[in-house]
Amino acid sequence: MFDIRMGDRGEVLLSGRFDAAQVDKAKAVFDRLVSTTAVDFKDLNYISSAGLGVLMATQKRLKDSGQELKLRNVSGHIRDVFTIARFDLIFDIK
């Protein structure tokens, strides 16, 4: 079960499993972002390359206007995947 919603402080809250079947649902939220936004991974327990693709496309679009995604509460499996994909080079991760 994957869920994505906006938090009280304007952050994107992800939970569950972000796989290829969830791309459209995720893009519906990420495509609406126009300013620097934190993405909270605390409750996300899985991500595949399809999810990474959504994050990368959003980061490219936001960076073009001087904004960015900040990836927060990243740990465990998600951190391992970000490390393999060298997301540290293109995202602010904490």
Binding site: A21, S48, S49, I90
Partner: protein, 137 residues
């Protein structure tokens, strides 16, 4: 354990359930389970992507030896596609130059210990081996 899945992105959820069932039976821990999710997810998605009009289902076989787990995906009536020969993406490139293509197979190569590919009778058979450490089970 062996199970065949409809060639549809919606089958991923069922494939994850199949992995969960196997992991519970074989007492395989969450770390390995997530690596298996990732490898199956990426390869299954790739098989759909490269042969979208194929009507054949995709078979997944999960097996456990003493200290290894093997994951086999079988795709029938397809052109050969040896993932070992795919070039790795350039992960040092700038954001503008980075492309999402190839990332899934790169992740797969990094979460398993060995990959075998066989092609016969127009079937692709990809076998992944994952070593199990003492704290994985």
């Amino acid at each position: 354990m062996e199970k065949t899945f409809k060639r549809d992105i919606g089958s991923l959820e069922k494939a994850f359930g199949f992995i969960d069932e196997f992991a519970a039976k074989e007492q395989i821990g969450n770390s390995v389970r997530r690596s298996v999710y990732l490898a199956v997810d990426e390869l299954f998605t790739n098989m759909i992507k490269y042969h979208p009009a194929n009507v054949n289902d995709i078979t997944i076989v999960l097996e456990r030896e003493a200290d290894t787990m093997t994951i086999t995906l079988i795709d029938r009536d397809v052109e050969p596609f040896d993932i070992r020969e795919r070039e790795d993406p350039n992960l040092s490139a700038s954001l503008d130059e980075r492309k999402p293509g190839g990332l899934g197979l790169y992740l797969t190569k990094n979460v398993v210990d060995h990959i075998e590919y066989k092609y016969h009778n127009r079937s692709s058979v990809i076998t992944l081996t994952k070593k199990l450490r003492r704290d994985d089970v």
